[in-house]
């Protein structure tokens, strides 16, 4: 497909205002401010079927309508640029290479929602993004695209860049708000939802960078164009709003050409690897792939015809599309190592607020530590599955979705590759793998 979001990233001046404007940048902004009301823009985005690109895939226009009508006080807009999901770097590309595209989308989103203050929450580990965005904001203020009475429209907008203090949970919308307010990034219990009481106790919208970047294109090219790409709603599922528009896929792992590619929603893993990734690295056989960030679970090589739209991976036992960061693993990868690495990440990043997540992620890591150390037992696999189920399957056991994210790799890896786990345990612990009790304490094994 013709790239849209990444159309200009190869230009040397793509990150400057002049470079952006030379390719039609800010035309949508000017047009909207001159011709459209906020409600018109809201309706346009709603009709387009744009769904949030941050992971949950919630319809963006619908989210905007949750804001209270005729709210007398300020409404805040937070742009979530805390991109911490392993394997994901689509927002980074946009912010580094085409920051004005993101900022135009943000400004349009603020106009639609009535927000006159926007917080661009960016993770600390992205220094170049920060630099480019700082420059871009200065250019916008200098050109009168931000500030008071923008382009004579009466619309006011200030955008503040806020650097996060490095935690996965800062990317969860209420964790982000807490962090923005200067507190520890512990997700908030909902309700109240941010649209009613968010940042600084005011109605707040939190959207992802890539979501915002889509908005100018919807204005420029129209709803029909946007809905012409992607997957139509499932007629058998009234709750499926379909998956429309261009999408950035981060392709990494054992492929010839890793990178960030733009493709329509619904492309399969196989197509992505073959058409964009240049095939498997050194022609080796694929073993598994993560469909959209490590929290989404795992697809086996047999499941590579899984369509990468918002509901596709769910049909293959994964949590969802997530951030569309596809990590491909070839036959050389040990699933024990993969799962250990995944558990290590979630145990490290759990904010620790809810008991099941705090203890469950840590417990699963300790068990995988022991399995890796050659003291695994077959019953450990069932226990790991149970942990995965209790922290992830009983819905509502935690405040945010991190525990779910930690549970899906556990459940997918063990259910889909159980034989490999059993072989590993049998080989590394031939005498004890069948033990049922008692179990040795971990510190007796390797000095934990």
């Amino acid at each position: 497909m013709e790239p849209v979001l990444l159309a200009n990233i190869h230009r040397s001046d793509s990150h400057t205002l002049s470079g952006y404007e030379s390719t039609g940048g800010y035309n949508a902004y000017r047009k909207v401010l001159a011709e459209m009301s906020p409600d018109d823009l809201k309706d346009l985005v709603k009709e387009s079927g744009l769904r949030g690109r941050g992971g949950a895939g919630f319809p963006t226009g619908l989210k905007w309508t949750f804001l209270p009508k005729n709210h007398p006080g300020p409404i805040y807009f937070c742009l979530n640029a805390d991109e911490s999901e392993p394997g994901t770097f689509n927002n980074r590309i946009l912010m580094e290479e085409d920051p004005h595209q993101v900022l135009e989308g943000l400004a349009l989103s603020c106009y639609a929602t009535g927000a006159e203050t926007a917080y661009f929450y960016i993770r600390y580990e992205y220094p170049l993004c920060y630099k480019r965005l700082t420059q871009a904001l200065e250019e916008m203020y200098a050109k009168g695209l931000l500030g008071k009475n923008i382009l004579g429209s009466g619309f006011n907008l200030d955008i503040y860049l806020h650097r996060g203090a490095a935690a996965y949970i800062c990317g969860e919308e209420t964790g982000l708000i807490e962090s923005l307010e200067g507190k520890r990034a512990w997700p908030r219990i909902k309700p109240p939802f941010p649209a009613i009481e968010g940042a600084f106790r005011k109605p707040t919208v939190v959207n992802n960078v890539e979501t915002a970047a889509c908005v100018p294109h919807i204005v420029n090219r129209g709803v029909a164009w946007f809905r012409s790409m992607g997957v139509q709603p499932d007629p058998n599922n009234p709750r499926d709003p379909g998956s429309f528009g261009p999408k950035l896929y981060c392709l990494s792992g054992h492929i010839e050409k890793p990178g960030c590619y733009e493709a329509p929603l619904g492309i399969t893993v196989n197509e992505l690897i073959q058409e964009y990734g240049g095939g498997m690295l050194d022609g080796r056989r694929p073993k598994a792939a993560i469909p959209g960030g490590i929290s989404m679970g795992l697809l086996t090589a047999d499941e590579f015809d899984c369509p990468l739209d918002f509901s596709g991976p769910g049909r293959y036992g994964c949590l969802g599309l997530g951030t569309a960061a596809v990590v491909v693993m070839d036959e050389t990868v040990s699933m024990v190592d993969y799962l250990h690495n995944s558990a290590r990440f979630f145990a490290h990043e759990s904010c620790g607020q809810c008991t099941p997540c705090r203890e469950g992620t840590s417990w699963s890591l300790k068990m995988l530590d022991r399995i890796q150390a050659g003291r695994g037992r077959l019953i450990d696999l069932d226990l790991l599955l149970e942990i995965g189920d209790t922290i992830g399957i009983i819905p509502g056991t935690t405040i945010c979705g991190l525990a779910d994210g930690a549970a899906w790799p556990l459940k997918n890896a063990i259910r889909k590759f159980r034989g490999e786990f059993e072989d590993f345990i049998k080989q590394t612990n031939p005498d004890g793998y069948a033990e049922t009790s008692p179990v040795p304490a971990l510190h007796e094994i390797h000095g934990h």
Binding site: G352, T355, R358, P395, T397, P440, L442
Partner: protein
């Protein structure tokens, strides 16, 4: 009126009531286990022990639609048509999971843990937990560190409910405590150089649902199941916090706040919590004495048997002439009433005065309204009312001392009961001309030395009666411990002097006082545990 359905049972909720799932279940006679929720603080819903199934009943069709997710009961309001299920398999499974998770790295050291016997982790484990321990992790490292002068933290026992952190932010407003680190490495800690030293610090120990926060003062001094708990009222200041006195064999081991929404909610200050040590002081006076004339013109102290004391005192006072009684603000209402009645029974014109009211600094007010009063006595208002109604004029301590210089009193009865020094030599010297001076006190003082009758008095926890606090709330209590041998509680002595039949009975006496003195009328039907507001009649 709203109707909420809890496990199929319809429960009524008043229009002005705001209850959550835990509270509505409690009203239905069910317990929803919880760690992090506390009615006095913000809801964080993080322990996840109170997960229940929730839903709504359609008022028109009567159909009940349940939510697919479990919800924390602490965060779910009980509104009209709300449905709660607290005993389904799904709920039980979730509770068992949380219990198992919490015990992964919590030491099972109940035999040495101070919280044993009142630990929620222990209780909930037996009621809701898994049958076996499946986690094979090193359970604990016994790390302990002091958080301040009063509280010590057993790091491994913490279940991260953050009640203590929220208390310091929301109630004391001092914010000393925080959560350090992340995930399973989280720990409660203080900021470097800023220990937990606020004047309400002891409350975090009561709040802690497990044995993580220990009270240094109580630590390892007593197992809770050996102690008896008595409801009482703090005598540290005129706030008059409702308290529990925990004692074993007439020895107080700790004092804890007793929930009373009208006075102290769930809290008390450290002054009151740790201010009971004088009760067991070796300096306590325990021998009644009288001055006898060993040789003409010279008096000498001699031991007085309690069996003979009432007659001896009564005889001396009846011969003394004009009488006066100083009613200490540490006396209960009932004791003040009896003493006043007694001196008036001998001399109907006897002068009644209120003893010194100790003031220290200014009142200390906390963000939630809790106040440590500057007035360090529990019953000034109660005693003042007695003096006012029975004495004719409200005579304060300074006025009375001034009157001593102008007027001659044949007999003066001074009641003390102060936990610390309350009278100096110069003031005591003004009592030199009193023919019969009776002093009743806990500790020696310049006045004690001059007394003709020296009567050891009781501490607050040894008394039975009522105090009226700063806000005119009268609270009654029974004695928690018996006084040391040799001490007769004031009320009992006055009762005997008045030759009343039977034993001293505070509740019965309060009924009598309420009928006689209109200010106490609100206490006539009996005094409930939270006390009565004496202003009720005035407002009416």
């Amino acid at each position: 009126m709203s109707i909420v359905i809890v496990n199929g049972q319809e429960i009524e909720v008043g229009d002005d009531e705001q209850l959550n799932g835990i509270e509505i279940a409690e009203r239905a006679g069910l317990e929803v286990p919880h760690y992090c929720w506390h009615p006095g603080m913000s809801v964080v819903a993080s322990c996840r022990m109170c997960l229940v199934e929730t839903g709504r009943k359609n008022p028109e069709t009567g159909e009940i639609q349940m939510m697919p997710k479990l919800s924390p009961a602490c965060q779910t309001p009980a509104t009209d048509g709300s449905v709660f299920v607290t005993n389904s398999e799904k709920v039980k499974q979730a509770r068992a999971m949380v219990e198992e998770d919490l015990l992964i790295r919590h030491p099972i050291d109940c035999p040495i843990c101070d919280k044993a016997g009142e630990c929620r982790l222990q209780d909930y484990h037996f009621e809701h937990g898994q049958g076996e321990r499946r986690a094979d992790l090193k359970p604990f490292t016994s790390r302990r560190r002091p958080l301040g002068e009063t509280v010590t933290l057993f790091v491994d026992r913490c279940v991260m409910c953050t009640r203590c952190v929220r208390f310091c932010r929301e109630i004391s407003g001092t914010s000393e405590l925080m959560v350090a680190n992340r995930g399973a490495h989280e720990e409660i800690d203080v900021f470097p150089g800023f220990p937990l030293n606020n004047k309400m610090s002891g409350n975090v120990v009561d709040l802690c649902p497990v044995g993580a926060l220990g009270d240094k003062d109580f630590l390892y001094s007593q197992r809770v199941w050996f102690m008896q708990t008595h409801d009482h009222v703090c005598d540290g200041c005129s706030t008059g916090c409702s308290i529990h006195v925990d004692e074993n064999q007439d020895h107080v081991y700790r004092i804890r706040p007793r929930e009373n929404p009208e006075v102290n909610e769930w809290w008390m200050c450290d002054d009151g919590r740790y201010g009971w040590k004088h009760v067991h002081s070796p300096e306590r006076l325990t021998e009644p004495m009288r001055q006898i004339a060993a040789e003409p013109g010279k008096l000498q102290p001699a031991r007085l048997e309690w069996s003979q004391a009432p007659d001896a005192i009564d005889g001396a006072l009846r011969k003394a002439g004009r009488l006066a009684a100083v009613l200490s603000p540490h006396l209960t209402v009932e004791e003040a009433y009896l003493l006043a009645k007694y001196v008036r029974s001998i001399d109907p014109q006897a002068v009644l005065a209120v003893g010194p009211v100790v003031q220290v600094g200014e009142p200390e007010k906390y963000p939630n309204g809790f106040t440590i009063q500057a007035e360090k006595c529990p019953n000034r208002r109660g005693v003042e009312t007695i003096v006012n109604r029975l004495g004719g004029e409200l005579l304060g301590w300074d006025d009375f001392v001034a009157r001593l210089e102008k007027e001659t009193f044949g007999g003066v009865w001074v009641s003390g009961g102060y936990p610390s020094a309350w009278i100096d030599e110069a003031t005591a010297a003004k009592f030199a001309n009193v023919k019969t001076l009776i002093v009743q006190d806990m500790f020696r003082s310049p006045l004690w030395e001059k007394a003709h009758f020296q009567l050891p008095g009781a501490a607050s926890v040894e008394r039975e009666g009522s105090y009226v606090n700063h806000h005119q709330r009268l609270q009654s209590f029974g004695w928690a411990i018996r006084p040391p041998a040799g001490v007769m509680v004031e009320g009992r002595l006055y009762w005997r002097l008045l030759q009343r039949p039977g034993m001293y009975n505070g509740a019965q006496l309060m009924g009598e006082i309420a009928r006689e003195i209109v200010d106490f009328a609100a206490a006539a039907p009996g005094v409930p545990p939270n006390g009565v507001d004496l202003r009720v009649n005035q407002l009416a």
